[in-house]
């Protein structure tokens, strides 16, 4: 949720002239090699790659649509349908599992009212738990929100992250809604321990969990290069 965080446009359609431009960036390499970078470009811009884009890529790169489609559907990062504006990933790999992720999943499911792989109906948040390790087990349990890693997440911190999303996404709408109207908290349930679900209450939680980029910077400032110095000098 920092400045670099990547939010997906809530687009429903892909601009094919933009697809052409993305393909044009890779004219100097073989079409096969270009395929993945092109998909990545489209996925990153729109949050999905649909059938129309698939045909356009095939046409532009002079590959058969079957080949393009077969590659596209193999990799989970490429989505066939638009996802939410925010992507919340929960790592459930073996490293994170041992440090306790089942409770975190429960928090998300209860508060967002969506299960694994689902998106809130207003298209704001997609939740995806993963059995695949995210490759950062030193910070487990690990959550990735909009491309930022959040480490050592416990239930309180998970609640905090959701509060922050809540604040970002629904506060503006709340100001339009009449005070106390039900429209205020249509989607995101309040944290169980945050008591009264008033806007002020949620907005007060300005102290958000630091992302790992910030965490690292802080640790470096405090104690030299690394959170844990791997110098093997205890032997």
């Amino acid at each position: 949720m920092s400045d670099q965080a990547h939010h997906y446009a809530v687009a429903r359609e892909i601009d094919l002239s933009r697809v052409r431009e993305i393909c044009d960036q890779y004219r100097n390499i073989s079409p096969e090699e270009a395929l993945m970078p092109v998909f990545q470009g489209i996925q990153e811009e729109y949050g999905f790659v649909n059938e129309a884009a698939c045909y356009e890529v095939a046409h532009q790169l002079n590959l058969s649509p079957t080949q393009v489609y077969s590659s596209l559907t193999f990799y989970w990062i490429y989505k066939w349908r638009p996802g939410g504006k925010h992507r919340l990933f929960l790592c459930e790999g073996s490293g994170c599992y041992t440090t306790g992720t089942t409770r975190l999943r429960r928090v998300v499911e209860e508060r967002l009212g969506i299960g694994a792989g689902e998106t809130t109906f207003d298209g704001k948040i997609t939740f995806q738990p993963f059995s695949t390790c995210m490759g950062a087990c030193e910070w487990s349990p690990l959550v990735e929100l909009d491309g930022e890693f959040y480490g050592f997440v416990d239930e309180a911190r998970m609640n905090q992250l959701i509060d922050e999303l809540n604040r970002q996404e629904y506060d503006a709408a709340d100001q339009l809604a009449a005070p106390g109207s039900d429209a205020q908290y249509a989607l995101v349930a309040p944290a169980p321990n945050s008591g009264d679900a008033s806007t002020a209450n949620v907005a007060q939680i300005s102290e958000r969990a630091p992302s790992l980029t910030e965490y690292e910077a802080e640790q470096t400032a405090q104690s030299g290069p690394q959170p844990n110095s791997g110098n093997a000098d205890t032997r």
Partner: protein, 425 residues
């Protein structure tokens, strides 16, 4: 060994080494300069003599792998180097630290490897989820190019190399070397039948070397300091420093570079002991593909051959520590879910078998299992192993087979108590 200085994860000792100036000020690219004064064969010989073994999982001697390339006069096709940075084995995160914090050492290793094997084009296949790492690698490559280390005429030697960063898109199987090649060619990441081996017919049917990025980061210090310097570390059969990714129930999880030859107990001590002062129950020496070992084997020396002899494997040296609160059925279930998700679907034993493993383990974990399920799950697991097209299928079995071997009573308790005795997760 008091005061051991890391030679690969040098960022642990020197802050800011990801910047090229700091890297050069600390002896960076000296290995490349030294290599350029030797013939490619001499460089290959130093690496062979050092006994460096691949850190990607199989522990194959690196120098020997390079020597499999056919002589250029018999196969004139262009040759490629594919650098495996698809690190996705659960529990492994040393390549990520290397890429993000000491990228120039990886790049220097790639350049020396290309020189030794007469390759002009290298691809770094980096895991799709590691976006930050990919950006940092691109940046480091641009810096190295500006300093004349990459390009047509490296440091005036007349020798040229290009390095391309290729991002994957989320598939564990693309770490398997032949699936990686397929993926680089823009196809589905299905493993290939071997032979022909990649050294003869790899990327675009050309001779190809595939190495783990961490393996190649060991090359610059070897070339710079010599094979004997490297062999002073580690054990006789696994020379050199070893990097372990330690995670799970441990006080200070993280990557630890050791001078090699450490036992599991020493590693636990190094990382601050078991979390919360609890008792060690089990550990995995090499990521989720390795068999789980019980605490009484913690005096095991953590190198390739000792781990294999103990019935497990060092694999990607991802050490997962489990304390007495860990449920072995739950852990096996998580790992099986991982293999079910990541099975590429090409062959039946793995595609269907991993699905059934999850089904059976799930009902055991949730207290709906029968006593026969324990042997059933073991038999499904052993029927996947050895009958699958690639090693991913084989990797799904050890966590279950070893779990039942050492903790059968715990599996039985799930049946008799109609649920998980550890129900806190």
């Amino acid at each position: 060994m008091q005061g051991y200085q890391p030679t690969v994860l040098r960022n642990k000792a020197i802050s800011g080494i990801s910047a090229i100036d700091t890297y050069i000020a600390n002896g960076g690219y000296e290995g490349l300069k030294a290599a350029l004064t030797m013939t490619p064969e001499e460089v290959g010989k130093v690496v062979s003599d050092s006994g460096l073994r691949g850190r990607g999982g199989a522990g194959f001697p690196t120098g020997r792998k390079w020597s499999f390339l056919p002589p250029q006069n018999t196969n004139p096709r262009p040759r490629y180097l594919c650098v495996n940075a698809d690190e996705s084995e659960p529990g492994t995160f040393h390549d990520r630290e290397l890429i993000e914090q000491n990228p120039h050492q990886a790049i220097e290793g790639i350049l020396i490897t290309c020189y030794a094997t007469n390759i002009a084009r290298a691809f770094i296949y980096i895991r799709g989820e590691m976006k930050r790492g990919a950006v940092m690698l691109e940046q480091a490559i641009a810096e190295a190019r500006a300093h004349g280390f990459i390009g047509d005429n490296i440091l005036g030697s007349g020798y040229g190399v290009e390095i391309v960063v290729h991002r994957g898109a989320g598939a564990y199987i693309c770490g398997e070397e032949s699936a990686l090649l397929e993926s680089l060619e823009g196809k589905r990441g299905y493993p290939r039948l071997r032979p022909p081996f990649p050294a003869v017919s790899g990327l675009y049917a050309s001779p190809t070397v595939i190495n783990n990025i961490g393996t190649l980061a060991h090359v610059p210090p070897i070339v710079r300091h010599g094979a004997d310097w490297f062999k002073q570390f580690g054990t006789a059969k696994t020379p050199g420093p070893m990097i372990y990714s330690i995670s799970g129930h441990i006080e200070r999880p993280g990557n630890y570079e050791t001078p090699g030859g450490y036992t599991m107990n020493q590693l636990i001590a190094l990382a601050g002991g078991v979390r919360g002062g609890r008792k060690l129950k089990a550990f995995i020496p090499g990521g989720s593909s390795a068999a789980i070992l019980p605490a009484d084997q913690a005096d095991l020396v953590m190198d390739f051959d000792s781990c294999t002899a103990a019935g497990s494997m060092l694999g990607s040296s991802a050490v997962i520590v489990m304390d007495e609160t860990t449920c072995m059925v739950g852990a096996a279930l998580r790992m099986s879910e991982f293999y079910r998700e990541e099975s590429c679907g090409k062959c039946t034993p793995c595609r269907e078998g991993t699905y059934w493993l999850v089904q059976i383990l799930e009902r055991l974990e949730h207290g709906e299992g029968r006593m026969e399920d324990i042997d059933l799950v073991a038999s499904v697991a052993t029927n996947i192993a050895g009958k699958s097209f690639c090693l991913l299928g084989d990797s799904a079995a050890p966590c279950i087979v070893s779990g039942i071997k050492h903790w059968r009573a715990e599996y039985e308790a799930h049946v008799t108590q109609h649920g998980c005795p550890f129900r806190q997760h």
